[in-house]
């Protein structure tokens, strides 16, 4: 029963819409980060309190991982490299966490580890200059660790370009893997019982403070069981298309200082 008077009123209502005082919508980027940080979060009573993207992550993850640790003795954090992603995100369906090329899931890691694992396939030593020449991504080095004691190129393409470049320090106790995220999705699978969110240069990073198993996933997406090993504390972060994992630095503060000194 819309008559002309309804039409006039409707037109007036539509016009009114433009005159209403509506608070500005949040910036989509910041909101997206905050939302991503919370996807999969268990329901909790105070869920409506305002929180930033970064403040939201750590508490939840600490809580989540603590639960995991209690529930599964060898709670597994499977880490594999996935297509270059700008931020970490938890897959709402599968419970996967992805950061850069790295995917963390709750699946158990390998039950038994090889006695003498080879961390990466087809490894050869090189000089840093050569690594920078043959790699198809910018190879960087942290200033605070000084000159690397070793440089390794692993899993090369037919043209010789390495998929992973590793710098080693402190007699091999500290290793920095640089993963070319532009080529293939998967690199590593890991298992850990704790994870913490930190930031490196404003981007999200994950700190795995405890020992965890790690398995390399080759170019074809196949897990290389020969590479399965126990890894020490690890910081994972990304810059551009490159994913970095710094292993063997005992504290998160020192690891962050190293990450922030990358040149």
């Amino acid at each position: 029963m819309a008559d002309h008077r309804d039409d006039a009123l409707i037109a007036e209502l539509r016009d009114l819409a433009g005159w209403l005082d509506v608070p500005a919508a949040p910036q989509a980027g910041g909101l997206a980060a905050a939302v991503l940080a919370r996807v999969g979060e268990p329901r909790r009573p105070s869920a409506r309190s305002a929180r930033s993207a970064w403040s939201a992550w750590p508490g939840w993850w600490r809580r989540r991982w603590r639960v995991l640790a209690a529930a599964v003795a060898a709670a597994a954090c499977v880490v594999a490299v996935v297509p270059p992603a700008r931020a970490a995100v938890l897959d709402a369906v599968s419970g996967l966490l992805r950061i850069g090329g790295i995917e963390i899931s709750e699946e158990p890691g390998p039950g038994t580890l090889p006695a003498t694992p080879s961390p990466l396939p087809s490894v050869r030593s090189a000089a840093l200059d050569e690594a920078r020449r043959v790699a198809k991504f910018p190879v960087r080095a942290p200033l605070v660790l000084g000159v690397p004691e070793g440089v390794e190129l692993a899993d090369p393409a037919p043209d010789g370009a390495p998929r992973v470049v590793t710098l080693t320090y402190r007699g091999g106790a500290v290793r920095l893997d640089q993963l070319d995220g532009t080529v293939d999705p998967f690199f590593f699978k890991k298992s850990a019982v704790n994870a913490e969110f930190v930031t490196v240069d404003g981007g999200m990073a994950i700190w795995l403070p405890g020992p965890h198993t790690i398995t390399y996933v080759d170019r074809t997406g196949k897990e290389q069981t020969a590479t399965a090993r126990l890894a020490g504390p690890t910081l994972i972060w990304t810059a551009g298309n490159v994913t970095y994992r710094l292993e063997g630095v005992p504290t998160v503060d020192e690891a962050l200082a190293i990450a922030r000194s990358m040149t």
């Binding site: 007036e12 005159w19 209403l20 005082d21 997206a32 919370r38 409506r48 309190s49 305002a50 369906v93």
Partner: protein, 194 residues
């Protein structure tokens, strides 16, 4: 990226896809929450709604579109908010609506138009909550009948009948308000100015 692709990718946990969906629907979701009375809590309602929408992506069948589905969650969250704080925030006109100088239009006409808007807001506010929400969704948010039905958790037929009823009531209220000693130069819809 189109929406179907984004939804497929979001189900796989692709952060770009989530961002795409958030960027695309933030403004509509926020405006819906704000006009349905969330006020300053609209930001929180929207964040909560996106979190729930993504957490339940596995259950989203896609037959009604992501926007409709999201708005249904926004509507529900806003109602929950009213319940928890026992009030809803009303519609407010921009301050600029009365003070902004307009070089093109006659200032007297401007004042009349501003006054008319003020009374319209007053009339909408005086409606029964259920009628008011339908008017807000259909005309102030420009939602379709289907979107309005989803947002307010009502059958589509109810939206239709309630909209018609709300328009009639709104006209009556405007007529009554026009009877107030306002400097109204002209009163449409048969009201009698003093």
């Amino acid at each position: 990226m189109d929406e179907v692709t984004a939804l497929t990718r979001a189900r796989r946990g692709d952060p770009d896809a989530y961002e795409f969906l958030v960027a695309r629907h933030t403004v509509a979701a926020h405006r819906t929450a704000a006009l349905l009375g969330a006020g300053d809590d609209a930001d929180d309602v929207v964040q909560e709604s996106f979190v729930k929408a993504f957490s339940r992506l596995g259950r989203f069948r896609g037959d009604s579109g992501f926007r409709t589905w999201l708005l249904a969650i926004v509507g529900n969250e806003t109602r929950n908010l009213h319940r928890s704080r026992k009030r809803r925030d009303g519609l407010a006109l921009r301050a600029a609506a009365v003070s902004e100088p307009d070089e093109v239009q006659d200032p007297v006409d401007n004042a009349v138009a501003a006054d008319r808007r003020r009374r319209l807001v007053e009339a909408i506010e005086s409606l029964d909550g259920r009628d008011r929400d339908v008017v807000i969704c259909r005309y102030l948010l420009d939602l379709t009948e289907a979107e309005t039905a989803a947002t307010l958790a009502l059958p589509k037929g109810t939206v239709k009948s309630r909209t018609a009823r709300a328009l009639v009531k709104l006209r009556e209220r405007l007529d009554v308000l026009a009877g107030d000693p306002q400097p109204a130069k002209e009163v449409p819809d048969g009201g009698s100015p003093r």
